[in-house]
């Protein structure tokens, strides 16, 4: 990455982090709780975007990894009395390893077949969470999961959780931005555009795809673990097929291949049900319409809209730099 690019990315990140930090000064109560969910969904959307937007590999099973992370963390802390941080580390590591192992056969598949296989994987996890009563508590879920804590400081209200989870989210965003601008990021985009060409250029495409799949599962598991420890309750319904679709919608609407786009998508999709509260069940119809319309008419997602507005403003301000903008 060129020095000026580093500077720009860093400024963008710092500005974003600043906005996130001062939001609780203006927002209280229920909305703050919703913003905690925006943070969790942003983590998940960034994880999926690394896979889908950068490497061009679809996964319709992200909710499964999210659920596994939440449940492993929940079970280790409630049934076995582990420290929540240790449980989180174990949950994310084991889900990452699991995805790595499954990645070998599953990422040999492409396009539609990969979509179906990951979908099947997600549904198997969902059925397991529902049916393994002895371990997971079945459909009625798992309650009494402890909050995260540092010494005697317990993350037990919305404000504390806000800073805790956004701390994780910002870290993951920073690491992801760094990753996609690195050599690996360029290799991933090469795979996205043409896998054959990427291999000719010496990219070990199959192994890189497995790594990024595993990373994206690991990120989802971290989100799951955070979810379990803030909600203190998990049940299978949060981790079904519909949630995988919701995540897909976030990534597409935000913009494939844009980390901050994932945040925009996660925010829109998380706030949408709150805005549409009067129409309750309409949200699913809205997701469907958004998915179709966005892919047809705005394939770049929300982030491209912002980008074109910026370019328009810049070129309007200084017509000479048009070419560089």
């Amino acid at each position: 990455m060129k020095a000026i690019q580093v500077k720009r990315e860093l400024l963008k990140f710092l500005f974003f982090a600043l906005v996130i930090t001062i939001i609780p000064l203006f927002v209280k109560g229920y909305l703050l709780n919703v913003l905690v969910f925006v943070a969790i969904h942003t983590i998940l959307a960034v994880g999926l975007n690394l896979l889908l937007g950068y490497a061009g590999q679809i996964s319709l099973g992200q909710a499964g990894f999210f659920g596994l992370g939440a449940y492993i963390s929940g079970i280790l802390t409630t049934t076995y009395g582990y420290n929540p941080w240790l449980a989180m580390a174990m949950a994310s590591a084991s889900v990452g390893v699991l995805a790595f192992a499954i990645g070998f056969p599953i990422l040999k598949l492409k396009g539609h077949y990969l979509a179906m296989a990951t979908l099947g994987l997600g549904i198997i996890v969902y059925i397991f969470l529902n049916e393994a009563f002895d371990i997971t508590g079945g459909p009625s879920g798992l309650s009494g999961i402890p909050n995260l804590y540092i010494g005697s400081f317990v993350f037990d209200n919305d404000l504390k959780n806000y800073y805790l989870i956004w701390g994780f989210t910002l870290t993951i965003i920073l690491l992801s931005v760094n990753l996609v601008h690195s050599r690996i990021g360029r290799a991933l985009r090469a795979i996205h555009d043409s896998e054959v060409a990427a291999r000719v250029m010496g990219v070990n495409s199959s192994f890189l795809k497995i790594q990024i799949f595993s990373l994206s599962a690991l990120i989802s598991a971290i989100a799951g673990s955070l979810y379990a420890h803030t909600m203190t309750f998990v049940s299978p319904t949060s981790f079904g097929f519909n949630f995988s679709i919701e995540l897909l919608t976030m990534v597409i609407i935000g913009g494939l291949g844009s980390i901050y786009g994932s945040f925009l998508g996660a925010m829109l999709i998380t706030l949408l049900p709150e805005l549409l509260r009067t129409f309750q069940d309409y949200d699913i119809v809205v997701y469907g319409l958004l998915l179709i319309l966005m892919t047809m008419f705005m394939p770049g997602g929300l982030v491209r809209v912002f980008e074109s507005i910026r370019i328009f403003l810049v070129s309007a301000a200084s017509p000479r730099e048009k070419g560089n903008a």
Partner: protein, 294 residues
């Protein structure tokens, strides 16, 4: 009941659900072969068949045969509309875009059905009574026989259509090579539309004949669609006998698994089989690996 009787029972009921999966799988294969699209909305046409029939019977008080005859064209029209509005405008779209579009379509159809008909589960009356028939120590319902008969009929009709009619042959030409097909004067767009029409019609029929046994609701399409896809994958995406076998194998394994292992894991078994086949023989169980399906 002896174990052997139980086994026969499981196998018979597995065969009848397998027939349904085969019909749905046919729909996947027909669209895939003319367009290389896996239509994720396929299951929704199955749901539409069942739900529109329920609507005609319970709300409009139609007699059953009339309700069936009236509901198939509706599901078919929605299938055609979906192709014209969402698939056709996307020329040269990547598989990823098409996956997302068809998923969007399926959510939309499911959501609208939920708004229209609510979240309740409905049942459809059986076609000819509930008097059980005893066969080889097992018991089956007349509806099972209807399922077998209609499946055989539809598949035969399909075979005849694709092998002996001009349109059917033209559609097969599109499956072989779209460019070449258009060069010899075949209207490829029309053939794609036909493939959506045929598969949504077959899907809706499958939804109607299974509804008396398993009930129907706005969200049954996901599972039935995925199972149909499993059947098509086992059959190697052929719109022929292999997919029928694929459906039957899946139905029987699922029914045996549910009966002998655990009914809760019934759906997991189907997906486990799907993953296994995708990993080991992505070209299907019966197909020699002629071309790599990538």
């Amino acid at each position: 009941m002896f174990l052997s009787d139980q086994l026969i029972q499981y196998i018979l009921s597995g065969l009848s659900t397998g027939a349904i999966y085969a019909l749905i799988g046919f729909g996947f294969a027909i669209i895939f072969n003319t367009t290389s699209i896996i239509n994720f909305a396929q299951g929704e046409f199955v749901m539409l068949g069942g739900m529109t029939s329920v609507f005609f019977i319970s709300t409009l008080k139609f007699p059953l045969p009339l309700a069936i005859v009236a509901s198939i064209p509706i599901a078919t029209a929605i299938g055609a509309l979906f192709e014209i509005l969402a698939i056709r405008p996307l020329k040269n779209a990547t598989p990823l875009t098409l996956v997302i579009i068809t998923i969007g379509g399926s959510i939309l159809i499911r959501g609208l059905s939920m708004l229209l008909w609510g979240k309740d589960t409905h049942s459809l009356p059986t076609f000819s009574g509930d008097k059980p028939i005893h066969l080889l120590g097992a018991t089956i319902l007349p509806q099972h026989l209807w399922i077998f008969a209609i499946t055989i009929l539809l598949i035969t009709a399909n075979k005849l259509f694709f092998n002996h009619s001009i349109t059917g042959k033209a559609m097969r030409a599109c499956a072989c090579n779209r460019t070449a097909a258009s060069l010899v004067g075949i209207d490829v767009n029309r053939m794609i539309l036909f493939s959506f029409i045929i598969s949504s019609a077959m899907g809706s029929m499958a939804g109607i004949i299974i509804a008396p046994l398993t009930m129907t609701a706005y969200d049954v399409g996901i599972m039935l669609g995925l199972k149909g896809f499993c059947a098509a994958i086992i059959g190697g995406m052929s719109s022929g006998f292999a997919t029928v076998l694929g459906g039957m194998i899946l139905g029987v394994l699922e029914s045996l698994g549910a009966g002998l292992i655990s009914s809760g894991y019934k759906d997991a078994i189907a997906f486990f089989i799907l993953l296994l086949i995708l990993f080991i023989r992505p070209q299907g169980l019966f197909r020699k690996s002629d071309t790599e399906r990538v």
